[in-house]
Symmetry: D2
Subunit: 438 residues, 4 copies
């Protein structure tokens, strides 16, 4: 039986009070234990070639994790951990950091979230607290941060493009922040790392912002030197937006499209006019159709003007990054408090038939409000396509009924059909609409 005790990295988890340490051990070994185990396993498997989360879990059934307290000191006790995380019995330092980042974020949030919500902290305050607790905000950023979004399952050709964009970003002094998985989340970091080495930058930040539901499925890649696990998708998105000094969107699937819509919701808010970082949509020629479908939908639904809030550059990484560099936010702050994010974007939208029926999709709304509602419809339809519980609900209760202008819905319909044709969505069998317009 292979048991290993893993102490925290220097300067982490060693500043707890007795009470904090004992509470942490209790929480970590209590109801959070399964989540913690799976996240830890993902982190320890960094660089493995397991195809998906299920494989990973299946091939490590003997892996056990315990959090052990000794006065104010905390350590992990691992049973049968994946061997590639170790060198001659010593854990690789970066993996040790990720392991304790997972503990830090999951337990910290779990212990405090109810308290914060009870006393009425805003979602932005909570997002800030979690980021602050990671020490990510401690230092004034000396270089701008490019947040990169896009699909994790893109083609090798598109992956190479994201690497080249990362290389061009790195040459121009950008640090990189992504969602911390593979594909468009890994390529920019790899490219930037090579460029940073060539430019002799030694203190680059490669920030990965994950989420408990995602991290267990996708190991953070090895380059990430700041791993953050936000408690939900909404806070993860808010973190991206408030940390970014420039945003790059690579091709992806429906998720990526929904993220673009999220950005537009914020950009269309008049108060954010001078706050938001530049938004760049870019990919190789093979991604042209994807972005053009998306843009067509945006113009149809939100008007020609919506195009002016981002820049689309196809097939020219250097030109794309030059655009970003020229429009980057000056005097970067670690966390941009000045962006106003609408409440609807900060809370999870659950696509029940009721909730969907209440949404309005009418040109009588402000464009910003229409964008918000659209993102929710969008979210519902996507869920109807892929989430088992929502699929079941549709099977029982019939299609979603949406009250709205027909042309908007048709645009959305067209967009999804094109995504399927382009191979950007995985659907089995004949696609069948999940909604009807009332």
């Amino acid at each position: 039986m292979n048991k290993l005790s893993i102490a925290p990295p220097l300067g982490r988890m060693d500043l707890l009070t007795m009470a904090e340490a004992s509470q942490l051990v209790k929480s970590a070994n209590g109801h959070l234990a399964p989540l913690l185990r799976d996240c830890a396993l993902a982190v320890l498997s960094c660089g493995s070639h397991a195809d998906d989360a299920n494989d990973l879990l299946a091939s490590n059934q003997n892996f056990k994790l315990e959090v052990v307290g000794n006065g104010p000191l905390i350590s992990f006790l691992l049973t049968s951990p994946p061997p590639q995380a170790f060198v001659d019995g010593e854990i690789i330092e970066g993996i040790r950091e990720h392991l304790y980042a997972v503990l830090r974020d999951i337990i910290y949030v779990s212990d405090k979230l109810t308290h914060w919500r009870t006393r009425g902290d805003s979602a932005s305050d909570i997002t800030f607290r979690i980021l602050r607790n990671t020490k990510l905000l401690d230092e004034q950023p000396s270089s701008p941060l490019a947040v990169c979004w896009g699909g994790h399952a893109i083609s090798e050709h598109e992956y190479d493009y994201t690497k080249e964009v990362g290389y061009q970003l790195g040459l121009r002094g950008f640090d990189i922040c992504t969602g911390c998985g593979t594909g468009a989340m890994k390529g920019p970091m790899k490219g930037a790392a090579i460029a940073h080495a060539k430019q002799r930058r030694r203190l680059s930040r490669y920030i990965g912002i994950s989420e408990p539901g995602i991290i267990a499925a996708e190991s953070p890649n090895a380059i990430v030197n700041n791993l953050v696990v936000m408690p939900d998708i909404e806070k993860r998105l808010e973190s991206f937006v408030r940390l970014a000094h420039g945003i790059v969107v690579f091709p992806g699937g429906v998720g990526t499209a929904e993220e673009v819509l999220y950005l537009l919701c914020i950009l269309l808010n008049e108060k954010n006019r001078d706050q938001l970082p530049p938004v760049l949509l870019t990919g190789p020629e093979s991604a042209r159709a994807y972005f053009e479908s998306l843009e067509h939908f945006i113009v149809d639904a939100l008007g020609e003007k919506a195009k002016s809030y981002y820049k689309l550059i196809i097939g020219d990484p250097a030109a794309a990054v030059r655009y970003l560099a020229q429009n980057v936010i000056e005097n970067p702050r670690p966390f941009n408090w000045d962006i106003e994010i609408q409440k609807e974007l900060q809370i999870e939208f659950y696509p029940s038939h009721d909730n969907v029926a209440k949404l309005k999709l009418s040109r009588s709304l402000t464009t910003a409000q229409l964008a918000i509602n659209l993102r929710q419809v969008f979210s519902a339809i996507v869920a109807g396509n892929v989430k088992p519980s929502v699929i079941r609900s549709i099977q029982s209760n019939g299609r979603f009924k949406i009250h709205g202008d027909a042309d908007i819905m048709m645009s959305l319909d067209t967009l999804l059909a094109q995504f399927i044709k382009q191979g950007r969505m995985k659907v089995s069998g004949q696609y069948e609409p999940r909604y009807e317009i009332v």
Copy 2:
């Protein structure tokens, strides 16, 4: 009207949530405003030659302080501040740091203390939390910390001796921590600073731990580069003991003697046998009588063995420091959790007639318990000599009645008489005992 806005030092007070910032502004301008103003004035007057706190306050009646919030950002607005804190309109960086340290500690503690106490946090946990919040514990100490105690009103000759000891400490790589005023609290830092320069140490720590009742009366000296304001005397003492890798006691008055008793209480606890840093009592020839009186009392009351818990070296700074260096705690930790500090030492002892009457001073107690009770009697007698409210209480209710062994009380009596003779206590008129033995 001279108004100046003072932004926080880089990396301090700029990581607040909106809610925290607005709460802080409210607290700082509310019932804590007078305390904050007086502490800030002390800090801004660093290096001034005002004889005492009253002079300081008197000569700066126009000084006003406001804490101003702008979203999550906080700054001070000062009206008519003492000019010596500024260069060409810019505040001196070290004073800016002290100013924000005062804000940080007073407000942080004020906002949290009730909450902590309500939920039952231990005194040690609270002490740790306050120190952690100052970032003092963030880094593994690379050099041992000598905590220096002693009188603030010692003679120039004795002051020079504390400088020489500081010089010898600095030559041997010690950082310095004191109570942050003048006299024996300043000399060691000055001496160490010269030695550190000669030894080419650039990152030395000069830690000053003050208390709201003290800081307003005594400006922290300019050398202090880590100012901490603990909420009460007991947590200040506990901080000293848990941070120290070696303790130096210079001659002082009754207060210093009480501190030595505090140390003995801890040292006499069997469980602390291998935990405590070495304790050194030292001074020039002129201090021999002071230390001999003290030692005589200790042996009388607590037994010959109590002498073995400290080392007394007179008139030889190099030999004294060599003793400390040879016995210094190895592998220093930032905060020594393993010392057991008795509850009676963590809470304030209020010398009412009732409380004093309840104390037992009998050789039937364990030596450790006797030491604790003695420290409280000691504290009561001192208060009876100097604290107006206690003096009045004795005038109304008669002398304290102490139940105890007569010989112990006589020893204490002798000690105080000797201190008066040596000029170590300021009493006006004929000294008259404040107690009688029952």
Copy 3:
């Protein structure tokens, strides 16, 4: 016409006297100009995919280089440089460093070499001076340095093996030093860079030691952050040996075999018994035949004992590196003066018929001396196979006549034949021996 002025990196070339600067400009634009131009072109083409030096030169015929002086300040003026060295008109910092490293080493050596030789400086002193001038020796090494040798034209499979060994070296804290080209000189650096990132080491050294005849043919790879150009092959070899705290030999061709022989010459010297770093021969299964042929020859010629001076590990990168780590030189010094390197190894051996005829290959010699003579025969035979001038000389004057024991020569013959069979040597047509034994 695209002209660019390139200032030196911060802290380089800006500390010249007026006289030095003007002499440097004169030298750089005088007889050294063609060499400097070609080396600079190689450095500027870093990362290009030109197949060989000729292609590189052919495709950059318009490239011109001038060194310009302005008082004590020096800069480059480039005409039509390869565009990939620049970002938005700014040169990539690492390439700027390489450019000035070339200038520094070539000009410095050229200006001083005659002077040093005239006054009788030893070869080791000269090697040291050149390395010292690069500032490579300035800091006490905090991590051990693995010197990696091997072929630049190995298969992709063997290249991946060198990367994996580099990764294992990097995980165990080794810095990397190679000959600065592709293949086995690039793989270990790439692997180590990934491992260093995972282990959070930020200040790793990737040292490339090149030579004017080599650098123009092979661009230093991008990872090299210390480029040194030694004036000849012998000083380059001596640098490797004196800098190394461990030596790794990957499969290569005849050149690699000659380097192993060079190491053995030094290892067989009794005085070096405790001085030399551990020597590891390693490769994947595909390299087993190569190393076994080499070992067979070594045992035949120099005796069974010669095997004990190195370790051969096939197909297990982790085990191989563990061996190196366990035997690494402790307390590493920046330059190991204590190794005794024989004079014959420090000067070039020119394979004239006369020089070869004078060599003795007899078991009556000490093994160390036999090894030295063998290396020279080896060098002559290789030259006879590949160097045009030597081939012509053999065509005119007949085969080399070697005075020696027949069995030694037969072993060598067998070795070369096996290398040809294994595809480790490029020969056209039927191989024909270049020597006969007298």
Copy 4:
């Protein structure tokens, strides 16, 4: 017999070739041994209270110094060194640095000077080479350097003034460079050190530039963290001028006046109009007479315009330093090559009767040339007053004969008389002119 071996500070003297090390040991133990011993003794006595060099030498007659080589490594072997340089048998790090600085400068210069002069290096190139060899020029200065001149034997009141000016300089971010002894050379460093601590500057430079004839008489003070020993007074003066971003002249004696004249020689050179740092003359009220006498002479001899090249501020340290800060050289370089220093200022003027007779002091000369000649006359007269050899020469050969305008000479005469009256010159008996005008 107390013998101690002193290794070099980390990173110094450990990068020598075998040949360099053996040459250094030979030189250090050869004809330079007595000079090296006396300089080392001065450095080891740092902080001692010996009144003068003679006392120092007298009280350390048993002190012996040997330089020992071990391959390329060098160390000192000291017999009976002054004890205050050591802590528990370990040398104080700053003194170790000074000790090796002395070795470095004296031996380096001694070994190279003849070589440089033979090949015709300029005085500026040589000055630069010596400074470069100290690594003082290695880093781009991040803060301006104030060079402070003035007497070493000033009153305590004037010494306190230099401390206050140093404090004001330090508050405004200046580093300090002086001649490395006591009085006006120590005060500014002490004041600046306190201000730097208050401003939290950790990497301040306190540069002391000495000379072999001076250092043995005056221990470098403890604050100096860059000690340089220039080979002669002229190169020392040139170093000051080319390193300075601002120059402060405190009251002194004739030597200080001569230094002001040296500055004026450079300032009056049209080509230096925009090159020179601001020159500030300052002192307390007690120094007003000194500066007014000096200014009177300057105006008489060189015209009203000469006053415009410096600023005289009496009794207001803050205002004085504000002037310097407002006029400081921007974008400071480590060594200002652009100042043109006349040849006559770079070579020693020996005051033989012949040399003095050849000097012209006529208003027909350019003002710059007149200033140069005046400085030499000045130097001759001073020597005639104080240097034994020159006094004897005057006794044998009569007064110096000076060909010049009578009014200029009378002004000089007046100046010297006033200095005597002010107690700025030490003369015994009745002052008698050493010259006559022809």
